[in-house]
């Protein structure tokens, strides 16, 4: 009785029946069986077809827009959001590695309690108990509460923390981490405040510049927004009509920015301000450049002896004169003050001297030269190291009953001399919100793990802003992988029980809060009429930004003075013969990237070393001390000592050694633990002359061989270059 059916017809019918229907039999009447899948996938998910969600990268404070590729509910790739005005579809190495933050095997599932601090013996508790403990402690503490946050804390969370603290009359959160300290974020904003009257992180437009002078700004590696500067740099190198910008870089060590520069000078550490001052002096005295430049320079140039400045900075006088002429004659000339200045005793002086060059050439940075519209949104402002010191003093004096720590790792990032761990002993309850147990969580009593940024809601007012304000949106792109809870929701839950806080934070959850904030934003570049549509588009496009408007008139620089002097250093020349150059690793940044195998296992661009930390030294230094690659050296400063492997490189001054930040973790998961050494242990807790910054770039060190040696995990082979054999 069977009807003949060819294989081809069968396929046709099968395909017509689509995925859920199947031809069950051929008897009459035809019967169809609908197969129900065991698990019903969400309706927007089709096997083999990707879904994309827009959110914000939180690997560094910049706030680049990312789009996430999802296959069957799993996040498999991050790309830059092409619509986002900051990064324009591009992403850096750290941004690309973000998925491992989400799927990290050492992430915490559920809150933990530690009975003895430092014991690393945690007991799991449930969320109700964890939140209750926090609530009871806060209720008892009254105003004796402090929040210590990092710059990657999203602005919405900063707002919620601030409201909670304000409601109980406690001082505002302290936002400080090593990454922004090494990048000089706070110091540069202060310097811009002195020059332009508006304290904001400067953003330099390079795309149309003729000449760029970078004073220790590692803007193609880690500084402020390396992605956006990469985009600017790409355009800078191939401008219309075959024009190509010229980049001159001044730094004691060859960084990847130095490598890409046309001219690179290994200047003496701490002499950036001197060089800028000398350039101003030469332009003023030589009457150089386009009309008006020399007059402008005369009003700003410090009184200094150019010959002596050239000698002290290690630049030939002729080179200085050549560059001064080049800078003054270029129509668009930009000078960039880098993060390394922030750690020098004279950092603010140097930053002002460098910014004076921009005043002379009339290229004030975006982000500070116009007043942004009021968006009605809270945004973080970074604190100085001096503020951290006063927090530590409060802790030591017993004025802090509950300390909440989010997005920063002070036990790893602060020098021992700051006395953070000693002061922590005086705080009855320390709560960490870290998703992985880090060095600070080990010294806390309660861990309430926050979600990773790819599972969280939030917003971030983008900084640096390159001319127009941008609010980047953050939304969960996958269902949470671990039993973590959004810190915003934890705070809102706790606030409900504290009457003053309940009034200040009347939202049911953080989505409620976000919806209200987004509804208040002005008109965006994309159309959105109703509040609902506004919220949906905010998440769909990855944020809010206005349509490009005519440039607002630039603010005029305020009168300011430029003085130039060389930075001071701890340690005398005989006992500590070498300057210590500390820099954030391109991959591990200040150490937060050390938890990710993708960032650990990819070779550093300059040394090609993966998984390890090292001390860069010049072949002359190495020859004198008979040091070879991989020799373990004891590096001693007046403040401490570490042991690290030597890496001999011609890309550094003979009087300087360089150590990247990032390694030397005792905790932070299996990939970071017990690897290399932490350069912060060589630093003191002294302040810079002005602005209350940490003087991390003013230490001298001594080197000694330990007699031990390790094999260097480098990609390059040094056979026949500086070594006889690769390794033993």
């Amino acid at each position: 009785m069977t009807e003949k059916i060819s294989r081809r017809d069968f396929l046709r019918l099968g395909a017509a029946g689509a995925a859920t229907g199947v031809l069950a039999g051929c008897t009459s009447p035809r019967r169809w069986v609908v197969l129900e899948p065991f698990v019903r996938p969400p309706e927007q998910q089709v096997s083999g077809v990707a879904t994309w969600y827009a959110t914000t990268c939180r690997q560094c404070p910049a706030g680049c827009g990312v789009i996430v590729r999802l296959m069957n509910g799993r996040a498999v790739k991050l790309e830059g959001n092409p619509e986002h005005p900051l990064n324009r579809g591009k992403l850096c190495a750290r941004g690309q590695a973000g998925l491992q933050m989400l799927y990290h095997p050492d992430r915490l599932s559920g809150p933990l309690l530690q009975s003895t601090r430092g014991s690393r013996e945690f007991s799991a508790i449930d969320w109700n108990e964890g939140i209750n403990r926090l609530f009871q402690a806060l209720e008892k503490a009254g105003p004796a509460v402090a929040v210590f946050g990092g710059a990657t804390m999203s602005d919405h969370l900063f707002d919620l923390f601030s409201r909670l603290l304000a409601a109980v009359d406690a001082p505002a959160p302290v936002i400080y981490d090593l990454y922004t300290e090494l990048g000089g974020y706070r110091m540069l904003a202060q310097a811009m405040g002195q020059v332009y009257g508006r304290a904001a992180l400067p953003a330099y437009r390079l795309a149309e510049a003729d000449v760029v002078f970078s004073f220790g700004a590692e803007f193609l590696g880690t500084w402020t927004s390396a992605v956006r500067y990469g985009v600017e740099y790409g355009a800078f190198r191939s401008q219309p009509y075959g024009k190509r910008g010229l980049l001159v870089h001044f730094e004691p060590r060859q960084s990847s920015t130095a490598v890409t520069a046309d001219d690179y000078v290994a200047i003496a550490p701490g002499s950036e301000g001197l060089v800028a001052g000398a350039l101003l002096r030469i332009i003023a005295d030589g009457n150089l450049g386009l009309p008006g430049r020399a007059e402008s320079a005369r009003g700003l140039a410090p009184s200094l002896d150019v010959d002596q400045a050239a000698r002290e900075s290690g630049i030939p006088l002729e080179a200085l004169q050549r560059w001064a002429r080049r800078f003054a004659e270029a129509e668009r000339a930009v000078a960039i003050p880098g993060g390394a200045l922030a750690g020098s005793s004279n950092g603010m002086l140097a930053a002002r001297a460098i910014e004076a060059l921009n005043v002379v050439s009339g290229s004030a940075p975006a982000g500070v030269n116009t007043t942004p519209p009021d968006l009605g949104l809270a945004r973080k402002s970074l604190n100085t190291f001096a503020d951290v010191q006063s927090l530590i003093a409060r802790m030591r004096a017993g004025e802090v009953q509950v300390l909440l720590i989010h997005s920063t790792n002070p036990a790893y990032e602060l020098p021992a001399a700051a006395g953070f761990l000693e002061a922590l002993a005086q705080v009855p309850l320390v709560v960490s919100f870290g998703p992985i147990v880090d060095e600070t969580a080990v010294w806390s009593d309660l861990i309430l793990p926050d979600r990773s940024y790819l599972e969280s809601f939030g917003y971030e007012v983008v900084s640096p802003d390159f001319g127009s304000p941008v609010v980047s949106s953050q939304q969960p792109v996958v269902t949470p992988v671990f039993d973590a809870r959004a810190t915003g929701d934890v705070l809102l839950t706790v606030a409900r029980g504290i009457p003053a806080a309940a009034a200040a934070m009347p939202w049911g959850d953080e989505v409620d809060y976000l919806n209200q904030m987004v509804a208040g934003l002005p008109e965006a570049a994309y159309p959105a009429s109703t509040p609902e549509e506004k919220r949906a588009r905010f998440q769909q496009h990855g944020g809010w930004w206005p349509a490009p408007a005519a440039a607002a008139p630039a603010l005029r620089p305020q009168p300011f003075t430029v003085t130039a002097q060389r930075a001071a250093f701890d340690g005398n020349e005989t006992d500590y013969p070498y300057f210590l150059h500390v820099y954030p690793s391109v991959l591990l940044s200040d150490g937060r990237g050390a938890s990710l195998p993708l960032l650990q296992g990819v070779p550093d661009p300059m040394t090609t070393i993966a998984w390890q930390s090292w001390v860069e030294l010049h072949p002359a230094t190495a020859g004198r001390l008979e040091i070879r690659d991989g020799d373990l050296l004891r590096v001693t400063s007046p403040h401490g000592e570490i042991v690290a492997a030597a890496y001999v490189t011609p890309g550094i001054r003979p009087d300087t050694v360089a150590i990247p930040a990032g390694q030397g973790h005792q905790d932070l998961g299996r990939y970071a633990r017990d690897r290399g050494s932490n350069v912060v242990q060589l630093l003191g807790a002294a302040l810079t002359d002005e602005g209350g910054g940490l003087r991390w770039n003013g230490v001298r060190v001594a080197l000694a061989r330990t007699g031990k040696r390790i094999a260097t995990a480098s990609l390059e082979s040094k056979v026949g270059v500086t070594e006889g054999l690769g390794y033993e």
Binding site: R12, A15, G48, M71, N72, R74, A75, V76, K77, G80, N87, G89, K90, L91, C92, A93, Q96, A97, Q100, Y103, H104, P105, D106, G221, A226, V227, R228, V231, Y233, G234, A235, R237, S238, Q239, P240, Y241, R244, T257, V259, T260, D262, Y264, L587, L598, L599, Q600, G601, V602, P605, M606, T608, W611, Q612, P650, R670, R675, A713, L715, E716, Y727
Partner: protein, 258 residues
């Protein structure tokens, strides 16, 4: 039934008279402008994530078994204190006369004439490593051990790309899974591929747009337009491997096109 399904079904023997749906041929070419490469490693990490390339441990890296389909090579130029570093991203050069192909005893390393690609068929590979030995660019990476992805890290593996097992040679594929995807999209929509539609992971993330990818046989493509300039060179050109990766020497501009 989608148009693609119809076309695929129509390929049966009884449909001999149906219009040909063979995929068009391409000359996939990559151009790397060294004047714009900043050595930032974004391409390297993007490639690892896109292509499920495992990260090898410190011990393996020390043994020279680090595994990256694209890597930043850092060279020193000049003498003494004037020594300056330069960066060169190195990946499979997709040679037209590939030295890796004739030495493979099992045809795991084969050439696609249609796409101008150098293919690696993982399930044919028996791990003789002759191809790696013969590659002058050291572009081929051998899986000395099966890759390890711990815990939920397996969730981020790209389902479009095979995870290679131990004992298998692997290398850059020019993101062939992305090529397939855009080709199928174009086929379904019944149009030729557009220039810029196919972007490999490294080029997509490159902040400075130093990496440009496209079909050289399309004279209007960005790659074709930028080829033939004074800065152009190929690595180890004299070996006659005829790579399909072109480099532009640093220190100059070809103006406007970038």
């Amino acid at each position: 039934m989608s148009e693609l399904e119809t076309r695929l079904l129509d390929r049966g023997p009884s449909a001999a008279a149906a219009p040909k749906t063979e995929l068009p041929s391409h000359k996939w070419t990559m151009l790397i402008d060294l004047d714009k490469c900043t050595g930032c490693n974004a391409c390297v990490v993007a490639c690892h994530v896109e292509n499920n390339v495992p990260i090898r441990s410190e011990r393996e890296v020390i043994r020279g078994h680090g595994q990256h389909w694209i890597r930043i090579e850092r060279y020193w130029e000049g003498e003494g204190d004037a020594q300056r570093a330069t960066f060169l991203p190195m990946l499979c050069q997709q040679c037209s006369n590939a030295p890796c192909e004739p030495v493979c005893p099992v045809y795991a390393s084969v050439h696609s004439e249609r796409e101008n690609l150098n293919l690696q068929v993982y399930n044919r590979c028996v791990g003789t490593r002759f191809c790696g030995n013969n590659c002058p660019y050291r572009a081929r990476q051998f899986n000395w051990f099966a890759p390890q992805f711990e815990g939920p890290i397996t969730e981020m593996l790209n389902p479009d790309v095979t995870v290679r097992s131990g004992g298998v040679m692997e290398k850059c594929t020019f993101c062939v899974q992305r090529i397939r995807r855009v080709e199928e999209d174009a086929l379904v929509e019944g149009r030729p591929l557009r220039d810029g539609e196919m972007v490999p992971a490294c080029a997509q993330t490159c902040p400075t747009s130093a990496i440009v990818f496209g079909d050289r046989s399309d004279p209007q493509s960005q790659v074709a337009q930028r080829l033939g300039g004074q800065r152009e060179f190929q690595v180890l050109e004299h070996l006659g491997t005829a790579p399909n990766v072109y480099y532009l020497k640093a220190g100059g501009s070809d103006g406007g096109a970038g």
